[in-house]
Amino acid sequence: MKITSNWLKEHLDTKLDENQIIEKLTDVGLEVESVEKQGGELDDFIVAKILKAEKHPNADKLRVCDVDIGKENPVKVVCGAPNAKEGLFTIYAPPGSVIPKNQMKLVVSKIRGVSSYGMLCSESELKLSDESDGITELSSNDFKDKIGENYFPKKNSNVIDISITPNRADCLGVRGIARDLAAAGSGKLKDLKENKLKKDGKQTVSVKIENEDNQACTIFGSCLIKGVKNIESPDWLKEKIISIGQKPISAIVDITNYVMFDLNRPLHAYDVEKIDKGIIVRNSKKNETFTALDNKEYKLDEGMCVISDASGVLGLGGIIGGTRSGTELDTKNVLIESAYFLPRSIRKSSKILNIDTDAKFRFERGIDPLSIEQGLKKASNLIQEICGGKVSEFDIQKIEKYENESLEFNPAMFEKITGIKIEKDEMTKILNDLGFVIKENKKNLQLKIPTWRPDISQEVDVVEELIRIKGYEQIELIEPQKVRQKETLNKKQKLFHFLQRAVASKGYLEAITWSFTDSKINQLFLEKNKEIKIVNPISSDLDVLRSSIFSNLIINLNKNLDRGFKDLSIFEIGPTFLGKKPGEQQTVIGGLKSGKIFRQSWLEKERLVDVFDAKSDVIKSLVEAGYDKENLYYDTETPSYYHPGKSGRVFLNKGKEKVVAYFGDIHPNVLKKLDIKIEALVGFEIFLDNIKQPKKSLKDQKTKHKFSDFQKSERDFAFILDKNFQVQELIEIISNVDKNLIKSVKVFDVYDGKNIPENKKSIALNVTIQSSEKTLNEDDLNKINQTIITAVESKLDAKIRS
C-alpha cells in the first residue's frame, strides 16, 4: 500500500514530520518497506521555448534547435520530432537528467556531427501519457512567464510503501492508516468532509441480487449520475493517482480508484447505455465467458459471483469489471456500484481464474460492509464536481444485514499475555481511538467491534491492538532460566549427529541438495519405489521427490568433475521419500567417492578408489557410532545402481533384520547414462532409521575390564576354498571354535592362480590364541590347531593347504 504524507495529512492532523511518521508506522505494525523520493528525477525538467529550429545539415528528419531555457544563452538541441518548430513551448531535459520512461541518463553527444545539449521530451518519455508522436506542446499562454522553471512542481512528499499484513484490511485505505496513527498518539483523525449532495430522482436502473445458495454479493448499492462529461482528471487528482503508482485514465475511473485508496471502499462504474435492461447479481453458469478490463477473455466455472444484465456477464463481482459496460470518455450516464462481497468467494474465484486486482485484494481481506453509502457519496460528489451531471438517490439492495459484533473483554487478559500492566483509562482511550465502542460492565469491557475490523473476534485480538498501540518496546524482558527437564536430543537424533560427523571425518564434504530432483535421474535410483511427483514443480528438472540421496548428489558430483576436480568425496544426510504421505520418508546418508587415492603422490603408489574404501568408511562410521564391528554381517544383494559384483549390504547382525547400509562401486551403466567421466566412483548409503538403537546406554555397556597377561601365540593357516565362497563364514567358524581362546582372526592373503585348482582360491589367515588362565604349551596349541582345521574342513568344502 503506497501513501504519501500529504495524502495522509488529509486525514490526520499531525505535527510529526515524515521521518517520525515512518517510524511510528513501523511501531504500530504497519511496516514501511521502502520510502521513495517522489518525482525526484523529475526535478530536472524545465519549461523551455524553441527560439529557432533549422534543418540538420546531415540529416533530413532532424532539426537543430536553439532553445531558451531561461539562461543567458540558449542551448543547442538536436531533435527529431516533427512538431519541433520555432515558438513552441515545451519541456527540456538537460544533460545529466534521467528520462523516466527508459531510465536513460542524458549526456552531451554529437548527433550526426552536431553537438546536442540535452533533449526535448515527448509526453510518453516523461510518462505523462502514451503520446509519443512529437515533443510535448505546452500552451504559450500558461507558460510564457515560466521559461526556465521546473515543469513539475517540486514535491516534498515521498512515496511511502507500507506492507499491510493480511489481517489489516482497514489499512488498505489512507484513512485506516491515519486512524492507527491517531490512536498511537501521532495526531488527531480528522472528520470526513461531507459536501452537501443534491440528489435528483430515483436510481432507475433495476438491480437485483438473485437469492441463490452461496450468493456472494450480500449488498449492492448504486447510484445513477446522468449527463456527465467524462474528461481527463484535473491535475490534483492525476497527481494523487500518479503519486501512488497508478495510471490516470479518465475522471470517472480515477475517482472510483481514488475513493478506494482513500477510504478502502472499492467502487465500480458502468456506462448505463451499455447495460441491457438491468443489473442482475447471480452465480455464473459453467463456461460463461466475458472479456475483462485487462482485455483477457475469461471462461467461468459454475457458481462464481457475476454482475450481469440481460445479455450476459458484465463483470466478476468484486474482482474485475468487463469491457462491455466500461466507462469511456464519451460516457454520458454512469452507474456507480458500491457493494459487499464475501471474502471467501472472492478468493476462490480469483484463485481459479488467476486474477489479482486492487479490488479483489481488498474484498478478500474484508471490506467494511457499512461503508457502502459513504463510498457512493464521496464518488458521486466528486463526479458531479468534475464531470457535472445529476446524481440519483442511492439504491441499496441487500440480502443480509450487518452490524457491529460484540465482544466481552477481560482487562486482566492484557497483563496475562503481555506481562505488563496498563491503566484502564489508557486502555479505553486506545480502543476508542481505534473505533471500538466501549461499555463498562463490572470488571469486563463490553466492546462493539468496528465493522472495518473483520480480524478482531477474540480477546487476544484486543490484547494485540492494545500492546501494538502501546508499543512492543514496553514489554519487559524476562531472562530465561537455565533449567533442563528433558534431554535435548533423543537417541535417534544423537545417532544422526554422530554419523554425520563420523562420515565427514572420513574426508567427505557435507553437501545439502534439494529434496526434489529430476525424474529422469531419479529413475536410475528408484528401484521398486514409487515415483512421487510434485504437481507444481518449480522447473521440469525438479519434478519429483528424491528416492535416493544419489539422485542429486551424483549430479552435483559430476558438476564438480566438470570443474576439473577428480578425487572427490561428498556426502549428504537427509530425507529420501518412499511415498507421498507424511512420514513415508527415511533419513539416509549417501556418500560418493571418486577418482584415485594418492594420485601423483611422491610417497605412495596411486590407486583407484574401490569398494573396500567405501566399505571402510561405512564400517568405521558405524563403529564410531557405537556398533560392534564383530557383529556386522554382509551379503551381496544390492540395488541395481551398484556394480553387481563389487557391492554389498550391511546388517547389524547375522539375523539380517534390516539393511543398515549399502556400499560398492557405482554401476558403470549409471555413469554412462549420466555421462560421468572418471576412472572410478564408489558410493555408500547408510539408513539411519534401520539402525536399531542399543538398549543399553554406553555407561551400562562397559563391562568389567578383563585382559590376560599370559603369553599369546599366533598361528597361520591357509585354506583352499570355492572361488565364490565368502570369507565372512570362514572367520565365523574359526572364531566359534573356542571363543575364550581365539582372540582374533586376520585375513592376510587371498590368492588364486598358479598352484591352486581352477574355481578355487586360497585364503590365508593369522589366528591369535591366548588363554586367560595359563600359558598355553605346544600340546594345547596343537590341539587347537587341529580343532580349527577339522572344524573348517568338516563344515565347509575346504582343504588346509599344506
Binding site: R168, R347, R484, N490, E510, W514, S515, I534, P537, K580
Partner: protein, 355 residues
C-alpha cells in the same frame, strides 16, 4: 705398587683413548678372559696370607668393578656414536609433502543447526522433528490458516496431489501441531528442518531451513518470549550486547504477533551485528493463537505460550559472512571447503559455539 694398582692404571689409560669396538673387546679379553690379568689375580687369592687376603680381595673387586663399568660405558659410547653416524646418512627432506589426508567438512547449515540446538539446550528446550511432506491440515488449517485465508498467498506451496491435501511443508510450524497432539503440556521444543516454497530467485531458494520454537506452560507471556529471543540472539552471534526491536506483525497462528529486527552496521564491508542504527529482520514470533491450542486439544484458558520461527540459512549467512543463499545448495567443492566446518568442531556451550 701392587699389581692391582698397576693393572688399573695401565688399563684406565688405555681405555681413555679413542677405541673401536674390537679394541675394547680385546681389552675385555685381556682383563677378564680365562687367563686375563684380572682373572689371574683372582686365582692368586688362595696364595695370599690370610690377614692380607681380605684387603687384597676387596681392592681387586673394586678395580674389577671400576674397569667393567668403564668398559660398559665405553661400549655404550661407541654404540651411540655408531647410531649417530648411521643417522647422519638417513636424513630426509622433511619439507616434502606429508602423506595426503582427507579433510572432511560439515555444511554451514548443519553447523548452525548444532549451534542453535546447543544454545536452546542450555535453557531447557529439546529438539523435535517432523516430516517434510505434510498434510494441508497440519501445515495450514490447524495453524489457524483456513483455506480462504489470504495469508496462504504468502506461502507458495509445492503440492503432491491435485486435491492439494499433501504438500511439502512451507514452514516448520506443523511440528508444533504434531508435538502438541502427541503429548501433554508443558511443551518446550525447537524444531529445525527443511522447508519448501515454490519461489526461486537471488534471495529465495525453493528449499531452505527454519527452526521453530515453542514454549507452552501455565504463565508464559511476551516477556518470556523477549527474554528467550534476546538470549538466543546474543549467544548465537557471540556478542555481549544486542540491539533488538519487536515490531507488531501478523501470523495467523500467533496473536499478538511480532517480527524481530536486530541492529547492525556495515564496517569495512562487513556486517557487524549488535551495533549501528540499521535494522535487519531476522525472525517472526508471537503468542500461540488460542485457536491453535484448541486444535491440538490444549485448553487456552489454562495454558499459553509463545512460538517463533527463524530462517537458519539467513542466520548462517549473517554469522559467517556468506552472501549468496543459492550457493548453499550448489555443492561447489570449493565453496563447501571454504565455508564448511571441521567435523571435530562440535558446537557446545562450555567450549564455545565457534572457534
Amino acid at each position: 705398587m701392587s699389581d692391582i694398582k698397576k693393572i688399573k692404571d695401565e688399563y684406565f689409560l688405555k681405555l681413555s683413548k679413542e677405541l673401536d669396538i674390537n679394541q675394547i673387546n680385546q681389552i675385555k679379553t685381556d682383563l677378564f678372559g680365562k687367563n686375563g690379568l684380572v682373572s689371574s689375580q683372582f686365582k692368586q687369592l688362595g696364595k695370599i696370607a690370610e690377614d692380607e687376603r681380605k684387603k687384597f680381595a676387596s681392592e681387586l673387586n673394586n678395580v674389577k668393578d671400576e674397569l667393567q663399568k668403564l668398559i660398559v660405558s665405553k661400549i655404550e659410547e661407541i654404540e651411540i656414536k655408531e647410531i649417530n653416524q648411521k643417522l647422519e646418512k638417513e636424513k630426509v627432506d622433511i619439507t616434502l609433502p606429508e602423506r595426503p589426508f582427507a579433510d572432511g567438512k560439515i555444511h554451514p547449515v548443519s553447523q548452525v543447526i548444532d549451534e542453535i540446538s546447543s544454545i536452546f539446550s542450555e535453557i531447557g528446550f529439546s529438539v523435535e522433528e517432523g516430516p517434510d511432506v505434510e498434510n494441508e491440515y497440519n501445515n495450514f488449517t490447524a495453524l489457524n490458516t483456513p483455506d480462504n485465508h489470504p495469508a496462504r498467498d504468502m506461502h507458495d506451496t509445492f503440492y503432491l496431489d491435485e486435491k492439494k491435501e499433501l504438500l511439502l511443508r512451507t514452514h516448520t510450524s506443523p511440528v508444533q501441531i504434531r508435538t502438541m497432539l502427541n503429548d501433554k503440556p508443558p511443551f518446550k521444543i525447537i524444531a529445525p528442518g527443511r522447508t519448501y516454497r515454490s519461489d526461486s530467485d537471488q534471495t529465495h531458494a525453493p528449499m531452505f531451513h527454519q527452526v521453530e520454537g515453542l514454549h507452552i506452560d501455565k504463565d508464559i507471556n511476551m516477556g518470556h518470549l523477549k527474554g528467550c529471543l534476546n538470549y538466543f540472539i546474543k549467544e548465537f552471534f557471540e556478542v555481549d550486547k544486542i540491539k533488538m526491536r519487536f515490531r507488531p506483525s501478523h501470523f495467523p497462528f500467533t496473536e499478538p504477533s511480532a517480527e524481530v529486527d536486530i541492529g547492525y552496521e556495515i564496517k569495512d564491508g562487513k556486517i557487524i551485528i549488535g551495533e549501528g542504527n540499521k535494522w535487519l529482520e531476522i525472525l517472526g514470533c508471537g503468542m500461540v493463537h488460542p485457536n491453535v491450542l484448541k486444535n491440538v486439544n490444549v485448553d487456552p484458558g489454562e495454558f499459553q505460550g509463545y512460538a517463533f520461527g527463524i530462517g537458519i540459512d539467513r542466520l548462517a549467512m549473517l554469522k559467517y559472512g556468506i552472501n549468496d543463499l543459492r550457493a548453499f545448495f550448489d555443492c561447489d567443492y570449493r565453496w563447501l571447503n571454504q565455508f564448511g566446518f571441521d567435523p571435530i568442531d562440535v558446537p557446545s556451550s562450555y567450549r564455545g559455539l565457534s572457534r
